[in-house]
């Protein structure tokens, strides 16, 4: 018997009249986020080359091995698998630690699932695997997928029109996703979930025309999202909590220096949560202790930055006490669940929203809401943002950073956010579009990895590179 939530959560794949969104995604950035997008069409893929010279530790595909999988199976730690331009109809599985799989050209090394294969490349339990400089498209699940690993890296990856996520990182720690792109997935273009501390960095990522630009369920702890672009998804950046995955709640995600705009896109594939979250830029759905700073966020039908609850109707465990929020994911997995009597309301708490620049977010530029919890008890604070509207009104006066919040700071009910109405909105929102046929912008030609043919193979480190967060400024507007 299906539970009601599962019925709601079912991905509805409906073919509807498609609205073209054009291919106007040429973008020139003048600040940190790199759009990685050019307007010309991708060159036609050549037949795989076969004349690569043999070099010790380098396994050439198809010169040495006709398929990527055969090269992966032959590889030992430290090897580099170098893939010549061509189309590879493979679902590659990696179980060998510390190998590097690299395409010679990001735009012409294409793994194509033909709408039948599940994942472009799936790394299962293999630590330190780096994937570089290639495209994965038309997979029924994910373009690129790491699970259960320590140390991962994805550089110059393009995930295009895949049936679940573009780039999917689950139960994995110590990683970097850099200069990568995800488009056309019903869930998220990029996802990092079930990790604490994640020790992970998303940098220079472009995510568009997905259900969610970014999703991170129960992730956090040195989880950093910077210098990236989330646009034209149903919803932009959505860290979230829920007991349908382990290691709750989502906490301590840092979101700085990103461009987040136009996330009202009605013609994307979308899971139910994406439809529910539609029209929001950065939406913390039950996340706690997050830092949202110096982002530029504009043009959303609901909120620019919203801190809202996530209602879990049929939870699998009780909500952890605040004192347990710092429990590592590894330790929390050892705990047996205690089934609560009813639904859980994961409130967003103790989050700092500071120094963002927001405009034209129709419900409110900055907002905090709940469904019964007194807002001044949640510990969220707002300061130094450039904005016009807030919910409740005068939010920066009601909830300043650096001092305890008070019921008496003002009228918390004036102009407050009624998130319950979003449930109603979701019922009438444009339904999901079949991911196989959804209209997408022309596939962009994206920046390739420099010196892909000659660069040394460097397996992924479990320690992401340090980022000078203080040096990141609000990026300039584009488009």
């Amino acid at each position: 018997m299906k539970r009601s939530i599962s019925a709601l959560a079912g991905v509805v794949l409906l073919a509807v009249g498609l609205v073209s969104c054009g291919g106007d995604d040429s973008a020139t950035t003048t600040n940190a986020p790199s759009t990685d997008v050019a307007t010309s069409e991708a060159p036609a893929t050549d037949a795989p080359a076969t004349d690569a010279p043999a070099v010790e530790g380098v396994l050439n595909v198809p010169a040495d091995y006709p398929t990527i999988q055969e090269a992966v199976d032959a590889a030992v730690e430290g090897d580099l698998i170098l893939i010549a331009p061509g189309t590879y109809n493979e679902a590659v599985q990696v179980t060998t630690n510390n190998i590097v799989i690299r395409g010679l050209d990001r735009n012409t090394v294409i793994l194509d699932g033909n709408f039948e294969l599940d994942n472009g490349i799936r790394v299962v339990g293999a630590n330190g695997v780096a994937l570089e400089n290639m495209t994965a498209m038309n997979y029924t699940k994910n373009g690129f997928f790491w699970t259960g690993v320590t140390g991962y890296r994805g550089d110059y990856l393009t995930a295009w029109r895949n049936g679940d996520y573009g780039v999917y990182v689950f139960d994995s720690v110590g990683g970097v996703l850099d200069h990568s792109y995800g488009a056309g997935s019903p869930d998220a273009g990029v996802y990092v979930g079930e990790c604490y501390p994640c020790d992970s960095l998303i940098n220079h990522f472009v995510s568009e025309h997905n259900g969610l630009g970014y999703s991170g369920t129960n992730s956090g702890g040195n989880m950093i999202i910077v210098n990236s672009i989330f646009r034209r998804n149903r919803a932009g950046v959505v860290p979230n909590s829920g007991s349908y995955e382990l290691c709750y709640p989502e906490r301590k995600t840092t979101i700085i220096g990103n461009l987040v705009y136009d996330n009202n896109q009605p013609d994307t594939p979308a899971i139910d949560v994406a439809i529910l979250a539609m029209g929001n830029g950065i939406l913390s759905a039950g996340g706690v202790q997050n830092i949202i700073e110096r982002n530029r966020v504009w043009n959303h039908n609901k909120t620019g930055i919203g801190l809202v609850p996530f209602l879990e109707e049929d939870p699998n465990d009780s909500m952890p006490e605040k004192t347990a929020w710092d429990t590592t994911c590894a330790d929390s997995k050892k705990l047996m669940p205690v089934q609560p009597d009813g639904a859980l309301l994961w409130d967003s708490q103790d989050t700092t929203v500071r120094g963002n620049v927001l405009e034209d977010n129709r419900r409110a530029d900055i907002a905090v809401g709940s469904a019964g919890t007194d807002l001044w008890t949640l510990g969220n604070c707002f300061e130094g943002n450039t904005f016009t509207t807030s919910a409740p009104l005068d939010l920066e006066k009601l909830a300043p950073c650096g001092s305890p919040l008070s019921k008496d700071a003002g009228d918390w009910t004036a102009g407050d956010l009624n998130v319950i109405t979003w449930l109603v909105d979701a019922e009438t929102a444009p339904p999901s579009v079949d991911w196989k046929t959804a209209t997408l912008p022309d596939m962009p030609v994206l920046e390739s990895m420099p010196n892909a043919a000659t660069a040394a193979a460097v397996p992924a480190s479990a320690t992401p590179p340090a980022i000078d967060l203080d040096a990141i400024t609000v990026p300039d507007k584009i488009d």
Binding site: K2, I5, V124, N316, K333
Partner: protein
């Protein structure tokens, strides 16, 4: 005496299907003694993308209920099986204790799958969508 618990149901068969190194039996010609239901039942939550608990010890004759309480499809495959099709073929051709599991088509969110583990052994399983044997989404049931 333990033997008294053994059911009169005795399967005499040539079991050609392995359930891995720690399986109840593998590639043997033997008599498998099954234990009748003991009235006990446990539930394993199947979340996105984990089995909880992922390791558990039960007595033979215990019923195990797997509940898909996540938001995604999952499957439960013995470690020797590579995909849903392989499981379907196994279930159609093999009546041994090694032949158990549920394909993803029958295990969508909200679905449950119940199996009586009535032969002692170590049963390793995984979800082929989100893991591999011993990695990602996997679990072990030890039946004593």
């Amino acid at each position: 005496m333990k033997i008294s618990l053994v059911s009169s149901i005795v399967v005499s068969a040539v079991l050609l299907v392995s359930c891995g190194a720690d399986s109840p039996e593998s590639a043997v010609t033997t008599t498998i003694a099954t234990v009748p239901p003991n009235g006990e039942s446990i539930t394993i939550q199947v979340l996105d993308n984990s089995y909880r608990p992922s390791e558990y010890e039960i007595k033979a004759g215990t019923e195990v209920v797997f509940e898909n309480r996540g938001r995604n499809d999952h499957n439960i495959l013995p470690d020797t099986i590579t995909d849903d099709a392989g499981l379907t073929a196994l279930l159609a051709s093999d009546m041994s204790p090694a032949a158990w599991g549920v394909p993803s088509t029958a295990f969508t969110p909200g679905d449950s799958f119940t199996h009586l583990f009535n032969v002692p052994g170590v049963y390793k399983f995984y979800c082929s969508i989100h893991g591999a044997p011993g990695a990602g989404m996997y679990g072990t049931l030890t039946v004593s």
